[in-house]
Symmetry: C2
Subunit: 367 residues, 2 copies
Amino acid sequence: MAKRIVGTTPKEDGYRMPAEFERQTGCWMIWPERNDNWRGGAKPAQEVFANVAKAIARFEKMTVAASPAQYQNARARLPEEIRVVEMVSDDAWIRDCGPTFVIDGKGGLRAVDWEFNAWGGLVDGLYFPWANDDQIARKVCEIEGVDSYRTEGFVLEGGSIHVDGEGTVMTTEMCLLSEGRNPGKSREEIEAMLCSYLGCEKVLWIKDGIDPNETNGHIDDVACFTAPGEAACIWTDDPENPFYREAQEAYKTLSEATDAKGRRLKIHKLCLTKKPCLLEGAATIDAVEGTLPREDGEISIASYMNFLIVNGAVILPQYGDENDALAVSQVQEMFPDREIVGVLTREVAFGGGNIHCITQQQPAPRS
Amino acid sequence: MAKRIVGTTPKEDGYRMPAEFERQTGCWMIWPERNDNWRGGAKPAQEVFANVAKAIARFEKMTVAASPAQYQNARARLPEEIRVVEMVSDDAWIRDCGPTFVIDGKGGLRAVDWEFNAWGGLVDGLYFPWANDDQIARKVCEIEGVDSYRTEGFVLEGGSIHVDGEGTVMTTEMCLLSEGRNPGKSREEIEAMLCSYLGCEKVLWIKDGIDPNETNGHIDDVACFTAPGEAACIWTDDPENPFYREAQEAYKTLSEATDAKGRRLKIHKLCLTKKPCLLEGAATIDAVEGTLPREDGEISIASYMNFLIVNGAVILPQYGDENDALAVSQVQEMFPDREIVGVLTREVAFGGGNIHCITQQQPAPRS
């Protein structure tokens, strides 16, 4: 049912990754349980993940993958309209380890199963082993009966790319040119891979992301496409903001860029939090030998940009910050026809990401 | 997506279990791995299960559930057209722990999720714990998006019943009236449960099955319906055959029975093996404290009756016995329009069952 496609690429076969704002059939998440990443035995994170899943399930079919140990708990804590399937993982970041779905405009749906190495492998990855995560894409495809392309020898996480569905992909140099992913590959080779597997013609490079020590600067904390010819970018004019330089530079780069269709992009500014989101409750995170203990007061990466677009809505992180309402109104302006659903997700930020990182949309085939 | 239906029964809701010979959309199996049941680290069993899965996959969609530990091995040893999904279990008998699907003739498909206690629980069950097995039906239903009825407090295995799809269910007293399942329930109460959950009006009781020490005499080693008004029954006229008495009695009972529609059943005789199937290689079965070690020469239950009907075919156990060919020809006469596909399954008999025990068909909804 779900075959490995060998010897061709999505582009050669007429497939492209659709933009997130195109029609979806559903969405996937992984249930968090890792006590050495999530504080409080992962219980607060589970509550927030459930809230995110419920928010999405208002708009489309939602599936949550849970390990055998957590299956019954996940099933009990999620409403019945959310499907729960069994799947082991190494943590809960399906944006990065899950499949990138591609469509062909003739009713076809396939997926790219990128090699995954926990954001940098043995160079600067965040955990070892990552073998379960690296099988997530395949297992999702098996359940859905979707054929997949495996990029053996080419490492990529879904959070490091955004596409406009019309030939353009944006990414960051900090991540895609990092030592821990594809060190043997030149910038041109990486561009060729992106274009071949995402069905694109042009790569927009932004220099830096805002979390060099975690994902090596994933694009999905910095910018995204909001419509053909339009993008959103984080923005602050407060030089004291820890992400001031990165935001200014990304905005400048995108403002000067043209997309694959030759359009100058219209850029929407999206605020950052007024105050940094600082880790609390670090003492309840399990200790692991060989890693530095985490401490209260560490900055957690809390970007409003890490939202998820679903059918008819945008699921937007809220942090209990003074700028929460501003972020809602700015995102509403970018997506005038969608409902903006804020979900309080400080807990996900404490774990290293946000709504976009913990979700993976499954686009609708088109014909 | 997959809800629990509470407060009604399938019969009340207009659902019935279709006969196995009705149209199916697919079939499910569980990948074996339990080294204390299967000899040789379960490797010979895995090969034979794969052969059974391949035989079925010629005729309909096939899904195999494998534990995380065996997922990659199962995926590698099964052809790509067979779907592999992750699911922990306590062994590999999805006939008994899986869902019993029911349909309503209006396009509806639901399932009964019987309570499972490993063939007798703490009275005379075959292993402990069985908590993973008891979740299999629910997990299958989740993947398929099928609503289910849970019979909390009522224990039943799928191998202990056969239906004709027209109001009749057959079973054995040895199993359904056993102490290890529903000891508090009268024969009448059990009949009422069967009729309510299978959408039947009449229960045909056969006294004994042929494996009192394993499943307490499941019907699926003894008899089955082959068409409306027709059944097959094991048969031997050799008084030395270890199952002579049971076969004679079952045949007599069925020959004298009428079904829910008042029809006298036409009974097809199905031979037994000429020689008993004796366990070999017992020394390679892992020892478990507290259970008697198994020994070479023990009789394995090897019934030709334990076949599976699929779309256009019957998948029939073969044992390397002198009567293998006779069984094929007898089953061909019962099913003149179906291909009879023999698969050598001594290995499954060594583990305690056969093709019917390790499969669970998913009927096609009708409207």
